[in-house]
């Protein structure tokens, strides 16, 4: 039996202090988050749906969006594979300097994105600057920790007995990985990847310098929106922003729904 009980009625009753705390929080969050985001949506539709659609999907905006989605998808896939591998090595392997590598994984979370972009320019310089490769590399850098950090704790929890049992039943290492370990890691890989994808789609700081912002080539949606804003096309920027917001919201809500369904099916199993 678990010590964390979720029997109904285990929570203290709703008092005035609760309501006050919740009210204040909601008010603050509204002023900072909800109202501004609503303003973006309102602005983008200020001239009706037709103009919204036109500015959200001009040829240039469409090209930027397609490149954004493809590059995010590619980066998410690479991050999922190599992130899982990295987590595996960090949990199961032992080598000198492991602790340092483990710390370094968090560097992209700590390093300002603009610095990250500059860093990649410094290294790969003219060879890749202002190409699609530069954008990919920048996105890879900023999304690196997501999958590693979501898989690592799960891998630590999986006890080796399960793998030993599979081995004793005649499963090869590859089979054990595919049929025993991977299904256990899948939820963590998926939720880490979803967050990484959302981050990649909206990423700005690290790509603004390295992409060179070449329309129909290296321009991503966030930079496109930024440029529209700079040239005073606020409604155009808002339209693209709405598209990006819809993508983020879909990922966030989808992930939550999926997580809930997943934990419920696990509980009833």
């Amino acid at each position: 039996m678990s010590t964390v009980s979720i029997t109904p009625g285990r929570r203290p009753r709703v008092g005035r202090a609760d309501a006050l705390a919740a009210g204040t929080t909601l008010l603050f969050v509204s002023l900072v988050v909800i109202i501004p985001l609503a303003a973006v949506a309102t602005k983008s539709f200020s001239d009706g749906f037709g103009p919204f659609w036109e500015s959200a999907f001009t040829r240039q905006a469409r090209s930027a969006l397609i490149f954004t989605l493809w590059s995010s998808l590619a980066v998410t896939a690479i991050g999922a594979a190599f992130g899982t591998l990295t987590a595996w090595v960090l949990v199961r392997d032992h080598f000198p300097g492991k602790a340092i590598v483990n710390v370094l994984i968090d560097l992209p979370f700590a390093l300002p994105t603009i610095v990250a972009g500059l860093t990649l320019l410094a290294l790969y310089g003219d060879a890749i600057a202002y190409t699609k490769w530069a954008v990919l590399l920048a996105l890879l850098f900023v999304t690196l920790p997501f999958v590693v950090r979501s898989v690592q704790p799960v891998l630590l929890e999986i006890d080796t007995e399960m793998e030993e049992a599979a081995a004793s039943l005649g499963a090869s290492r590859a089979t054990t990985f595919r049929r025993i370990i991977l299904p256990n890691l899948a939820p963590a890989i998926i939720s880490g990847s979803a967050l990484a994808f959302a981050r990649a789609v909206g990423e700005f700081g690290s790509v603004v310098l390295v992409s060179g912002n070449v329309p129909f080539d290296t321009q991503v949606s966030s930079v496109y929106a930024f440029k529209q804003l700079e040239s005073d096309n606020v409604r155009g920027a808002a339209a693209v922003a709405v598209v990006l917001m819809v993508i983020s919201l879909a990922i966030l809500i989808g992930l939550r729904v999926w997580e809930r369904r997943h934990t419920i099916s696990e509980r009833t199993a």
């Binding site: 039996m1 010590t3 109904p8 009625g9 203290p12 009753r13």
Partner: protein, 320 residues
């Protein structure tokens, strides 16, 4: 003294308590017994103020506390999983209630030391909960609850998370403690043996209402329903009635009130000997005998015997 009147509580569609009334005399040790989901924990938590009832009242020492916050009820509450303050050592845990009341330091120290002596944790003052065994943590939690000199002591399955041996030991110890301290105590348990061992009064709950209350012997000997009888000890069915296996007598010769049966198996369990029988109709029957009784009968498998039930011991109800 605790008085509960027509208490009711629902969680959604689930009725945790349906119109429960109860009186717990001052200085007694009362056990709330019942299967899980019977409402016993909800009742205890409502007395403590951790749960707000949908209807009904709770009186402590004659004062209506139904709308009083748990902080101000003066109850000591002990949780199944100890609820030890993990970041405080044993002394600070036990002292907590006194510290927040800003009692003088000397008084706090003396009280804590005295209580740790009572619960047998002298010398553990500077240990942290993580360095204690489950039994020790629970004794610490008990000392912590007693430190505020509560009007009533409420224990929610206090030994539920412990090993069998530790459980038995703590039980004996709690009974002795209660005899010394005499604080009105209510204990929630699903273990009938624990309830019978500890309590002056047992309140048996089922589906959110009280099935029966009384002394352990009253409940055991004169159960109000077949549920009560079945919950308090093993029962077997004979002649359409329920009976305790140790109340069935075995004779080697037939009489006007006996039923014929065949011995299937004789199991020696030390002091007790269990006889597995098959009645004429084919239904099984288990009978408990003492060693001496079994030795006198010299039973063996295949033998035909005659069983008889004393009138007073049956509970004539339609099965369990």
């Amino acid at each position: 003294m605790i008085r509960v009147d027509s208490l009711s509580k629902r969680f959604g569609d689930f009725v945790a308590l349906g119109d429960v009334s109860l009186h717990v005399p001052a200085g007694s040790l009362t056990a709330l017994l019942g299967p899980s989901g019977s409402g016993k924990s909800t009742l205890l938590r409502t007395i403590a103020g951790l749960e707000t009832p949908d209807g009904g009242t709770v009186h402590l020492d004659g004062t209506d506390v139904t709308n009083v916050a748990p902080q101000d009820r003066g109850v000591g509450f002990v949780f199944q999983h100890y609820a030890a303050f993990k970041h405080m050592n044993v002394r600070d845990n036990v002292a907590f209630g006194l510290t927040i009341r800003k009692r003088p330091k000397d008084e706090i120290r003396d009280t804590v030391d005295r209580l740790l002596d009572v619960v047998g944790l002298t010398g553990f003052q500077t240990r942290y909960p993580s360095q204690l065994s489950g039994g020790q943590r629970q004794r610490m939690a008990l000392a912590r609850a007693l430190a505020i000199e509560p009007k009533v002591l409420l224990l929610d399955e206090p030994f539920g998370a412990l090993d069998r041996n530790v459980r038995t030991e703590l039980r004996t110890w709690l009974r002795r403690l209660h005899d010394e301290v005499h604080v009105t105590t209510v204990l929630v348990t699903h273990d009938q043996e624990e309830a019978m061992d500890l309590a002056d009064q047992i309140v048996l709950l089922n589906h959110g209402s009280i099935e029966q209350e009384g002394s352990p012997t009253e409940l055991y000997d004169t159960p109000a329903s077949d549920f009560v009888m079945g919950f308090l000890g093993p029962v077997v069915e004979l002649d359409g009635g329920l009976v305790r296996p140790h109340d069935v007598a075995i004779a080697l010769t037939a009489d006007h009130d006996t039923t014929e049966a065949q011995v299937v198996r004789v199991v020696h369990l030390g002091f007790e000997v269990r006889i597995e029988l098959e009645l004429a109709g084919g239904s099984p029957l288990t009978v408990q005998l003492t060693r001496a009784q079994a030795a006198r009968l010299e039973l063996e498998a295949g033998q035909i015997v005659f069983v008889r039930v004393p009138e007073v011991a049956t509970f004539a109800a339609g099965g369990i």
